[in-house]
């Protein structure tokens, strides 16, 4: 197989995953959320239990008028959804799902690349909030900025702990080095990473920047039609990326009790799916954190915890190597 074809196939596969899996997560959210609230969820679109609800939503969004407010910074306003969505596509390229190079593109500094690019996604919300020329959007944008500052740090520290433990920055390398006892060892880091990731995605209970009952919809207030749909898609793609990353970094990726070689990708998917379910579960269960509670959680709980995790990782590493 020629190199060009190989690259094209990998990119196509990543693209298909990027288009399909967020929809699956979205549909799961419809159903799981409904049943957790004693409802049924959408039942009509597509026939069987409303499986085509998100497709129908997409068609609906595509039909709507695309409005740019008169006072808005036109170029930035129109660019923001793409900036919010594309980083997650780029991140997916670097996430390994199975052994033997089953990855879009193996990078030596994979974890660095992934975290750096994921951080760009929040920029989309900032751009949207600033360019909308709307005070609620601006409030939402500023809250997004504050949240980004607060939660990026514990996320990076927790990921750094895993990188220290594995002795490499490469994502396949980290999974390669994984042993089952890493789970209890890195559990605190894992929880911090996952929680901070939720906050980065502005998912409930950390959705103060988009709190629809307080500031309408934050940075997305002025968006309509497809551009708004892109923001929603970015949220679900973000869930996919976060859950895949958490399972790769903290839960051992393709390592499973059996079938490590042939069915490794299945383990990655199962772990990702369970984590995605957890994301939905948390959303249904907990009320939105107030802005000050949200900041307090990051600075007084998550960052000390992740620092403690790094210290623990360092100590264990030294003990093992000596």
């Amino acid at each position: 197989m020629s190199d060009a074809l190989d690259i094209a196939l990998r990119l196509a596969a990543v693209f298909v995953v990027f288009l399909v899996f967020p929809l699956v997560i979205g549909q799961t959210e419809h159903k799981v959320m409904a049943h957790m609230q004693g409802r049924l969820g959408p039942m009509y679109a597509g026939g069987f239990h409303g499986w085509a609800q998100l497709v129908a939503d997409g068609v609906k969004f595509a039909q709507k008028e695309d409005i740019v407010p008169a006072g808005a910074d036109r170029r930035i306003f129109q660019l923001a959804p793409a900036v919010a969505l594309l980083p997650y596509l780029l991140v997916l390229v670097a996430i390994p799902i199975g052994p033997h190079n089953a990855v879009g593109q193996a990078l030596d500094a994979g974890i660095f690349f992934v975290l750096a690019v994921m951080g760009v996604g929040v920029l989309g919300s900032l751009m949207a909030g600033w360019a909308s020329a709307n005070k609620f959007s601006l409030l939402g944008g500023l809250r997004t900025a504050a949240q980004l500052l607060a939660y990026e740090l514990p996320m990076l520290l927790a990921a750094a702990s895993v990188a220290m433990a594995a002795g490499t920055l490469s994502l396949p390398g980290i999974v390669e080095a994984f042993h089952w006892w890493w789970v209890p060892w890195q559990i605190v880091g894992g929880v911090v990473f996952f929680t901070a990731g939720l906050a980065e995605l502005q998912r409930p209970p950390f959705d103060m920047p988009v709190a629809d009952s307080e500031i309408i919809f934050g940075a997305y207030t002025e968006y309509t039609g497809l551009r708004f749909a892109l923001f929603l898609l970015a949220e679900y793609a973000g869930i996919l990326v976060l859950c895949a990353l958490t399972s790769v970094l903290f839960l051992g990726g393709w390592h499973g009790p059996f079938g490590a070689d042939g069915l490794g990708w299945l383990w990655t998917l199962v772990k990702t799916a369970i984590l995605a379910f957890g994301v939905i579960w948390l959303r249904v269960t907990y009320p939105r954190l107030r802005e000050d509670q949200l900041q307090k959680l990051a600075w007084t709980v998550l960052i000390p915890l992740s620092l403690a995790q790094i210290a623990l990782t360092g100590v264990v590493k030294v003990v093992i190597s000596s």
Partner: protein, 204 residues
């Protein structure tokens, strides 16, 4: 005494438990709801009982009941008597766009001409079409369910009690009349009874 975060775990448990239970959503357009007999849907009219007393229209807080009528004279019941007059209903309409379903019209109707019907699917695309005339109200009358049975230990309904009282009174009256008639009979037939000493012996 509880661990920090035990409340969070409890919350997760609640939502997970709810997920495993059957949802309580009723599939309304596919499955008709099971309505209680006292459901307030629309108001049905039983025309035959209506005397056009206008109490319902007068008491209606929204003034949403429209009644038109005319007076007809009826020949006297007994020869030589006075001609009697009677109200005939021409129009009875309720504007359900105004109605607030307070039920006062049904409460005040002295002749049981108005009833709650559980019918609730009467949406229209034009607000003016929500004014429903007597034929529609009569149609709804047939959807009125039977009133629920009384509690076994309940007090007897007022109507029944009154009717029984009247019937008892009538029966007592009739018995007294029969009694009186027999007594009169006896005093008249005294000579004939003389022949049969065994029947009248103790009385005299």
């Amino acid at each position: 005494m509880s661990f920090p975060g035990s409340g969070l775990a409890k919350g997760l448990a609640v939502t997970l438990r709810t997920m495993t239970k059957r949802s309580v959503t009723a599939q309304y357009p596919d499955a008709q709801p099971d309505l209680a007999p006292r459901t307030r849907g629309v108001i049905g009219l039983f025309e035959e009982n209506c005397t056009v007393c206008m109490l319902c229209a007068r008491e209606c807080p929204d003034w949403c009941i429209y009644i038109d009528s005319h007076k007809e004279t009826v020949p006297p019941a007994a020869p030589g008597g006075r001609e009697r007059s009677r109200n005939v209903l021409d129009r009875f309409a309720i504007d359900f766009a105004l109605c607030m379903y307070c039920g006062i019209c049904i409460e005040v109707c002295p002749f049981d001409a108005l009833f709650w019907s559980p019918e609730f699917e009467y949406a229209e695309t034009d607000i003016r079409e929500l004014t429903h005339e007597r034929d529609k109200l009569r149609e709804w009358m047939w959807t009125v369910p039977e009133p629920p049975a009384l509690d076994p230990a309940a007090e007897e309904p007022k109507e029944l009690a009154a009717a029984r009282k009247a019937a008892d009174k009538l029966a007592a009256q009739q018995q007294a009349d029969a009694e009186a008639a027999r007594a009169a009979d006896r005093t008249e037939g005294q000579p004939a009874d003389q022949d049969r000493p065994d029947t009248s012996g103790e009385g005299t």
